[in-house]
Amino acid sequence: MQEPELHDLSDDADYAASQQQGSASMMRSDSGKHSSSSEHDGAEVVYMKDNVTIHPSMLASERISGRLRLIKQGSSLFMTWIPYKGQNSNARVSDKDRILYTIRPVPMTDVRSIRRHTPALGWQYIIVVLATGLAFPPLYFYNGGVKEFLATIKQHVFIVRSAEDANVFIVNDFQNPLQKTLSSLEIPRALSVGSEPSTSFSVGEASVDENQERMSVDIQNDNINISQYNERQRQKAHDPARDLSIQVLEKFSLVTKFARETTSQLFRDSHSNGYGAIERRSNSLSSIDYPSQKASDDWDKVPDKSPVPQDPLEFDKLSLVWGKPRQSPLGSDEWFTFLDSEGRIMDSEALRKRVFYGGVEQKLRKEVWPFLLGYHDYDSTYAEREYLKAMKKAEFETVKKQWQSISPEQARRFTKFRERKGLIDKDVVRTDRSLSFYDGDDNPNVNLLHDILLTYSFYNFDLGYCQGMSDLLSPILFVLEDESESFWCFVKLMERLGPNFNRDQNGMHSQLFAITKLVELLDSPLHNYFTQRDCLNYFFCFRWVLIQFKREFEFDKTLRLWEVLWTHYPSEHLHLYVCVAILKRYRSKIIGEQMDFDTLLKFINELSGHINLDAVVRDAEALCICAGENGDACIPPGTPPSLPAEDGLLYPQQELDDVL
């Protein structure tokens, strides 16, 4: 446990748990290289390493740890990685994921290369690229052992360091006649790598730590049967499972590709100072004009009839394989399994994940939304919630009375009140009137909208009323069907989205800025296009962001999208990735038709009602996971719906006079 390359992992829950698990089920061995077992048809385990882990997402809770092995059978060497079963620290990793990511024995003849990564901080990892060009996801060696892994391979198959990249090891299995033939065809390359002194590959050191390596000789429980490998190879063509595995491999390949490109992009940016822009955020946000110094330089590179640059993420494939399929909405029976006997939600993260992937049935929304909005604490009991409801009802009535008690005479001398009320009067009668819930003359629900909004404008007098708020309240009232509860849930929503409505529009600008940076990160050709076209203010996304896509989807779809966004799973800023996902979905149309700002705005306004919600949410999730920490870095702190970074006055005094 004193691996020199290990960094302090004591605060990593996954690591601690896996260590525990490891010591319970495994025994130490003196040899890391030659420990063997020959119980499986002459198969010999020549290398085994525990706590080799993949990171399917940026969430630590979704990491999957497993055991990596090299197995020799006859003259063939196989690599396999099997995730641990029933590992309590990874309770959130579904069996499905485990099966999905399992690497069943792959012969080294199918491996083209192995890339080794040794970051200064964090774990070493390898990326195994197959001869087909596909790749497995990065395998993180929590307990070290990359060198040993490579050394073991070298003992059994021909492996050389790439002349182009010292961290890439090219695998050529000369046991395989076909591979041998192929290799001999690449003579110039083979010669250049072959001429490299083999000492540059320092296998000698590999055994240094071997006494500290833990090794298990127990492979009884793993369902590997290499002798069936050849049989399976023959059946492959008709095996439906093969299609799945190909998809999975493609997924991995995309991740690898993305990781590579992100790395090179970051490298470029750090030199061209592009990322400095984020640090200068506070300055640039105050200006809504983002100058495009590149525009003139790039202009002449754009041909008249423009071919569309390829999406660096190969987005179509990405969304296909990354985004998990949507589930059916959460229903009452399942909902109760999340509650303990007193009504507490036992595992709020599991609930949020469940809602993220499936949404909530309409009749259950009334129960679930107050949690998602933060009005109810997840660990509150039924009784506490009933009590809160009563207290809050009284508090609501108190605030409501403040404006109700203004007589017509008083109102005549109270211009601000009249104007504010006038705005609300005008907007509630044009909010979702095509819904039966709000249609018809003298609809009581329209009056409720009015009363709640006017009460809110007294509750938060500084922010007041602003157009768009009625759009945000309408679905809440529709779902909760209770004036006071709707009011308080709206208050909670406005805690997150209030900055959208600030006079200085700072909440909007920080979100539009973040979209700019995310597109730059996730689709630089599209970013370049927007730069050329002077579209970097992203005002064409204004309506999307201001009212959370309320006008872009049918009403019931908006409800679904909102509850998905409110889970803040996998990111509280998923809505920004939704923006990027939609733009990417139409990127070839936007670029191919050479849309200018006006055309783009019109095009986007007219997308309303035509966007495939499920597809876009899947895409957004995939983008969010792919972007990882680089994506987080694009989003300035305090960007809605994040709560403001500092306490104090939300709405500075000098603005109050302007804010009606």
């Binding site: 809504i288 004009d289 104007e419 006038g422 705005l423 005008k426 907007d427 044009r430 909010t431 009137r433 095509s434 602003c466 157009q467 768009g468 009625s470 759009d471 409505f501 006079r503 200085d504 529009q505 203010n537 005002f539 204004f542 309506r543 201001l546 009212i547 006008r551 700002f597 006006d598 705005l601 019109k602 306004n605 302007d658 804010v659 009606l660």
Partner: protein
């Protein structure tokens, strides 16, 4: 020989929330009126082909959010405007009082090259409401203001009934055209004028 290119005339409609900007635009372009418009968020535009003499133009009519809190967006949308339409509700005094704010805000944000002569048109809308009984801004008062601002053309309209809407937009288009520099109308095939033009004023086009 100079080729004749169809010209784009950009018109911005401004005015307080709920005075009928979206309705006026839809009545003019689509000949439709609905009681169920939603408050405009951000901005949108409609286009309509118009003909003057023997020339065809595309009128691009921009509809913007009426709440002043969104005015900072104007920079992006007002740019390159050829005419600005100021709308108020004849039944709401405040919406008339605010015309001056809208005018000034537009001139600041669009920063036209010749603000003194930039064409505006004022529309007093909703004259149909309550048979005119709830009217609080008289035609005389409105015309006086328009005169004081350099003889801005004034129309009284009802977007709901389609009253005077066509005439108003004919005038709007004409004024937008007046704002266009001559050299953008007749384009020699080989000369790129994308960066040129706006500084010079039209001298020959007196429609």
């Amino acid at each position: 020989m100079a080729s004749r290119r169809r010209m784009l005339l950009k018109v911005i409609i401004l005015g307080d929330s709920g005075v009928g900007k979206t309705s006026l635009m839809n009545q003019y372009v689509n000949r439709k009126f609905s009681n169920q418009y939603k408050a405009t968020i951000g901005a949108d535009f409609l286009t309509k082909e118009v003909q003057f003499e023997d020339r065809l133009f595309t009128l691009q009519i921009w509809d913007t959010a009426g709440q002043e809190r969104f005015q900072s967006l104007g920079v992006a949308f007002y740019r390159g405007a050829d005419c600005c339409v100021l709308v108020y509700d004849v039944n709401v005094m405040k919406s008339f009082d605010n015309l001056n704010n809208w005018r000034e805000e537009f001139l600041i944000q669009a920063s036209p090259s010749d603000p003194e002569n930039f064409p505006f048109v004022v529309l007093g809308n909703k004259i149909d409401v309550d048979g005119g009984n709830s009217r609080v801004v008289s035609e005389k008062k409105a015309k006086a203001w328009c005169a004081s601002k350099g003889n801005i053309p004034y129309f009284e309209t009802s977007a709901k009934e389609g009253f005077n809407v066509d005439d108003a937009f004919q005038c709007i288009a004409k004024n937008a055209l007046k704002n266009e520099p001559e050299e953008e109308i007749y384009l020699p095939d080989t000369i790129d004028v994308a960066g040129g033009g706006r500084q010079q004023r039209s001298t020959g086009c007196e429609c």
